[in-house]
């Protein structure tokens, strides 16, 4: 697992706080994130796009997905301040980054369930 995707310290803090609810938190985050991704892709206005990016940024940062949060921040800034060209590219980067962290969180789920 590469530390450039996830801050491991955050994860261990979360496990300590959530205790038995840790697994549920990981699963909820993954469900939530699927919803945010489709919002990013289906956004019909700059506002909707900014809103989705903002929310995704917040939840990823809470979960220690530092690179994903940073990409979402860039997207939010770009939508709000421009320039708009190259935005699709940024969304694609977010897709890729999410695929990577999803694998890591699923592995974490496995680890916790088997404990």
């Amino acid at each position: 697992m590469s530390d450039s995707h996830i801050d491991r310290e955050v994860l261990s803090d979360l496990q300590e706080v959530m205790e038995d609810g840790y697994l549920q938190l990981l699963e909820t985050f993954l469900e939530d994130s699927e919803k945010r991704l489709s919002q990013l892709h289906e956004a019909k206005s700059a506002d909707e796009l900014a809103h989705a990016a903002h929310s995704f940024k917040g939840s990823s940062s809470n979960m220690g997905a530092v690179a994903l949060a940073e990409l979402c921040r860039q997207l939010e800034d770009r939508v709000n301040q421009g320039p708009l060209q190259g935005i699709e590219d940024l969304i694609n980067q977010i897709d890729r980054e999410y695929s990577a962290v999803r694998a890591l969180y699923r592995a974490e789920c496995q680890r916790v369930s088997s404990e």
């Binding site: 955050v10 979360l14 938190l25 909820t28 939530d32 940024k57 917040g58 940062s61 809470n62 220690g64």
Partner: protein, 571 residues
């Protein structure tokens, strides 16, 4: 995190957050800190939950579907009313503009993502302190408001009760003008006036030390003594002694009542003055000119023990059109911005300059206002004009019995000797007794006047041997009363005998009063032969007695007066 739980009372915290993972995380953190948690997914749910459950603190995401956090914050603050419900915005908003919007919508603080449980706990704690502080302030404010209303109401009731007592008097008489701030009672000022049974007028202007309720407390017993004793025909000296003794008994040391008392006799055209601690009052000449001060010569009421109290009064002659002007210390103690006092000299200039009596109060108030730059509301002013007695109509005495059991055939004799004459005024007792004769009640005022006159003649000219010729002018007048006091204090023998005889006479009856003294007597025919103008200030007495009674004779070389009153059968 559970160590925080013990520092805080459990709160109900509402969490409104769009993202399910963030909501779950936040709810878990807050719950672990010992609080109850309510959760909402958008602003609309948050407002509905708030209205229903009234949580004490709200964590609110700014960007939410359906209703955003800004609108939800506004509605929650409106629902909360005066109570402080802290709202912490959950946001990673970095723009200044967005943060300002949070504050404008009623946000009290921010919490940025990623959430730190330690920071969140600290913020909840700080906000809870603020919330409690506000709640305490509101509670205290409401308590103060309740107390204040309560106090105002008590003052209203107290004033109403007091007005009942105070207005038993004759402040509304046609020759009296007065000005008193509506709540002067709570400044400690007191103004009382009442007619004696003989038609004389007793007036009191008093000022209790201090303000507020303590100052007002003493007013009630003082008014009671004043009205009670005046109505029974007691003189100023007895009333003063009783008031002083009563206040000395009931007031704590350090509280007292400055007072100026007058006994105005419009019949005999004299005024008796006692001033203990009040600013000088004034006798204002009829046509303008130098006012004569009525100086404070005594300690205030309630200071001295009864045995040390001095009830010596001064007696001054009065002329028609003269006026007595009394005031509270609010006037002379008014100070300007340099702490200069308005003072007696400025007041005297206003009094001397006055031409139209009706404008005097306005002139005094105007002078105060000019001096100070603003008006004040704790001034009491009183102005009494010397008028013909018939102008005034003392209210009829109200008798408490039914009038069915009037004894009609009796006689009584009293002898009052030196020690008694010094301290005791027997007139109220005699008058009380004579009130039993219902047929005489219509002539009550005349009866009082005549008996008073006969008694003071017997005492002053008879027992004390004073020459009424002394009273020829104002100086002599003062000297006369000074000598009177001296001789009375030194008196060791002499007597006054009073005999009252009531006889039925056809349908009605008659009363024969004889007053005899141990003095030298006087040349009756010579005194009675004098014309009214010749008699001036000194001879009014005998004529008054002759005018008011059916028959008046002097025997035994003037040592014994015999006066008769008669009445017809009652319907």
């Amino acid at each position: 995190m559970s160590q925080f739980a013990h520092d805080l009372e459990a709160l109900t915290v509402l969490i409104a957050e769009d993202g399910a993972a963030d909501r779950l995380l936040l709810a878990t953190i807050v719950r672990k800190q010992g609080h109850q948690v309510l959760t909402a997914e958008n602003g609309e749910q948050a407002v509905a939950l708030f209205a229903q459950q009234r949580p004490s603190l709200v964590l609110l995401d700014a960007l939410m579907p359906v209703m955003d956090g800004f609108e939800a914050a506004r509605q929650i603050k409106a629902l909360a009313g005066e109570a402080l419900v802290p709202i912490i915005f959950l946001t990673s908003l970095s723009e200044e503009h967005a943060l300002v919007r949070c504050l404008e919508a009623g946000g009290d603080d921010f919490l940025a993502k990623p959430y730190s449980p330690v920071i969140l706990a600290a913020k909840i704690k700080a906000m809870d302190r603020l919330r409690r502080l506000q709640a305490t302030v509101l509670e205290q404010r409401d308590q103060i408001a309740r107390h204040h209303n309560h106090l105002l109401n008590e003052q209203r009731v107290a004033k109403a009760v007091f007005d009942q007592v105070a207005h038993a008097g004759c402040l509304s008489a046609s020759n009296i003008r007065y000005l008193q701030s509506p709540y002067a009672l709570f400044n400690g000022d007191l103004l009382l006036a009442a007619f004696t049974p003989a038609g004389d007028m007793h007036v009191l202007l008093g000022d209790f030390t201090g303000h507020g309720l303590p100052a007002a407390v003493g007013a009630m017993p003082l008014a009671e003594v004043f009205y009670g004793m005046t109505a029974k025909g007691y003189g100023l000296a007895e009333t003063l002694r009783e008031m002083n003794a009563k206040l000395k008994r009931i007031l704590p040391v350090g509280m007292f009542c400055c007072a100026l008392l007058l006994n105005l006799s419009f019949q005999r055209r004299v005024v008796e003055v006692w001033n203990g601690g009040m600013p000088d009052g004034y006798l204002l000449p009829a046509g303008g000119g130098e006012p004569l001060p009525l100086i404070s010569r005594h300690l205030p009421l309630g200071v001295l023990a009864p045995e040390r109290f001095n009830d010596t009064t001064e007696v001054l002659p009065l002329a028609l059109g003269e006026r007595l002007f009394l005031l509270s210390d609010g006037v002379v103690d008014t100070s300007d911005e340099h702490d200069q006092l308005f003072g007696v000299e400025r007041l005297r200039r206003v009094l001397s300059a006055n031409r139209q009596p009706a404008l005097l109060f306005e002139e005094v108030l105007q002078a105060l206002e000019q001096f100070r730059g603003r008006s004040r509301d704790d001034v009491s002013l009183l102005d009494i004009e010397v008028v013909e007695p018939q102008v005034l109509s003392p209210p009829p005495v109200i008798y408490s019995d039914s009038g069915q059991s009037s004894p009609l055939d009796w006689s009584l004799q009293f002898e009052f000797r030196a020690e008694t004459l010094k301290r005791f005024n027997p007139l109220p007792y005699l008058l009380q007794l004579l009130q039993e004769i219902h047929g005489l009640r219509a002539q009550g005022g005349a009866l009082h006047s005549v008996l008073t006159e006969l008694y003071s003649n017997a005492l002053e000219h008879g027992v004390l041997g004073l020459d009424s010729a002394l009273k020829r002018d104002a100086q002599g007048f003062a000297a006369y009363y000074q000598v009177r006091n001296e001789r009375l204090q030194a008196l060791c023998d002499g007597f006054i005998r009073v005999s009252l005889r009531v006889e039925p006479d056809r349908q009605g009856g008659r009363l024969i009063i004889e007053v005899e003294d141990s003095g030298q007597g006087f040349n009756v025919s010579k005194v009675l032969a004098r014309s009214v103008s010749e008699q001036g200030l000194c001879g009014r007495g005998l004529n008054l007695v002759r005018r008011l009674s059916r028959r008046a004779e002097w025997a035994d070389e003037g040592r014994r007066a015999c006066v008769e009153f008669a009445w017809e059968a009652l319907a």
